[in-house]
């Protein structure tokens, strides 16, 4: 079975177009996956940064506490040695001082904890906002790229389709003109053939009609005439 070349070309063009669409979709997905991976890496990096900062704060707090305790112990030792004689009153003073220091230390610790928690929450909030913004940006970028590429592809496909249509139209017109020319040629040949055959046919028909219309008497007269003409002709030839 033979396929019309025009249909075959159209089918090939359609297959190529579909292949291009599939390739474009694969490329878009690949691009999106890359963006998501990049965002994931950025998120991990931020997590690490936050953890490091928290650790630094905790270490700083620990160092401050240790320093305060050492200072307090040193002051206590000095007070103990300075007030050896008067243990009773000095002991009360020391107790009061220690209580005040303890309360101060507790306040410091609470303040530090509050600051740490606040900083940690702020960092987390910032990270969350960055994640959201990053994802939004990635989505917007991907959508923009996809839209742009889709527009480019549509434009290209439209251009190719228009070109293919123009080529097809031109070819069809050429084939049509050629076919018309061949038909015209064939028609002329056939007319010539008919013209050539009509005349002998007419002659045969006339002969038949004349032959059928002749009576016995007509035949006899014609033969008599033929004999006379033949005699004359032969005599002339002699």
């Amino acid at each position: 079975m033979l396929i019309n070349p025009a249909i075959f070309i159209l089918l090939v063009t359609a297959v190529l177009g579909l292949s291009a669409v599939i390739l474009f979709i694969i490329q878009s997905y690949n691009h999106l996956i890359k963006k998501i991976e990049q965002a994931e890496r950025e998120k991990l990096h931020l997590h690490d940064a936050v953890n490091q900062k928290a650790t630094e704060i905790l270490e700083h707090t620990h160092r401050q506490n240790t320093q305060v305790i050492e200072d307090v112990a040193k002051q206590a030792k000095e007070l103990l040695s300075a007030t050896q004689a008067d243990k009773g009153s000095e002991a009360d003073k020391l107790r009061n001082t220690l209580d005040a220091l303890l309360i101060q230390q507790q306040k410091n610790t609470e303040t530090m904890n509050d600051r740490f928690s606040k900083n940690y929450l702020e960092a987390l909030e910032k990270l969350r906002n960055q994640d959201i913004k990053s994802f939004e940006k990635v989505s917007a970028d991907a959508a923009e790229i996809a839209t742009k590429e889709m527009q480019d592809f549509t434009k290209s496909l439209k251009g190719e389709t228009i070109d293919a249509h123009a080529i097809m139209r031109e070819r069809i017109e050429q084939e049509y003109a050629k076919a018309e020319e061949e038909i015209e040629k064939y028609k002329l040949e056939k007319l010539k053939m008919i013209d050539a055959s009509v005349y002998p046919l007419l002659k045969n028909v006339v002969s038949l009609v004349v032959g059928k219309s002749l009576t016995q008497s007509d035949h006899e007269s014609l033969v008599t005439q033929a004999i006379q003409d033949a005699a004359r002709e032969i005599t002339i030839k002699e």
């Binding site: 013209d195 009509v198 005349y199 007419l202 002659k203 006339v206 002969s207 004349v210 032959g211 002749l214 016995q216 007509d218 035949h219 006899e220 014609l222 033969v223 008599t224 005439q225 033929a226 004999i227 006379q228 003409d229 033949a230 005699a231 002709e233 032969i234 030839k237």
Partner: protein
């Protein structure tokens, strides 16, 4: 080269119209001659009259008389009749092809006309070809002439071809 018929044979050839008649005449002579020696001398004339149609037997008797042949001598009659056979075979023949199948009466009329135009001794050989439409094709002494309606129509169509074609278009 063919010998012209003798004067004695002329009257018999005048009585023979077609080639078929001539063939029949020759065959009848053969039949007659086959038994000629078993016939009594006095009976030769009677047998001759019985063998041939009246007009032909009359012509044969004339021929025998003109050739100074004794009707009571078998050998002389045989020689004379064989000579007659030869002259009939050598007679001038006209070939006539017709477009129709004629009756015996028409054949005789046509042959009569031929004898008038071409000579009384001419024997006609008739053929039939309906393609001729009408008229006749004649061949005589090596000369051919087509006097058929078919030929006339061909000439007419050739002469009037442009005129007829203009009617067709």
């Amino acid at each position: 080269m063919e010998q012209p018929p003798t004067d004695q044979a002329h009257s018999i050839l005048n009585a023979i119209y077609t080639a078929e008649d001539a063939q029949e005449f020759i065959e009848r002579i053969d039949t007659f001659l086959a038994d000629i020696y078993s016939i009594e001398r006095k009976d030769i004339l009677n047998i001759l009259e019985e063998t041939f149609p009246e007009n032909i037997s009359k012509e044969i008797k004339n021929y025998i008389t003109l050739t100074n042949t004794s009707l009571t001598h078998q050998e002389e009659v045989r020689v004379a009749l064989m000579k007659l056979q030869h002259e009939i075979r050598a007679a001038r023949t006209l070939s006539l092809t017709l477009a129709f199948s004629p009756t015996r009466k028409t054949v005789l009329e046509i042959c009569e006309r031929i004898k008038q135009e071409f000579g009384q001794d001419v024997i006609t050989e008739i053929a039939y070809n309906p393609d001729l439409v009408g008229g006749a094709v004649i061949v005589f002494e090596g000369k051919y002439t087509d006097q058929s309606v078919k030929k006339k129509l061909t000439i007419l169509f050739e002469a009037k071809e442009n005129e007829i074609r203009s009617f067709l278009h």
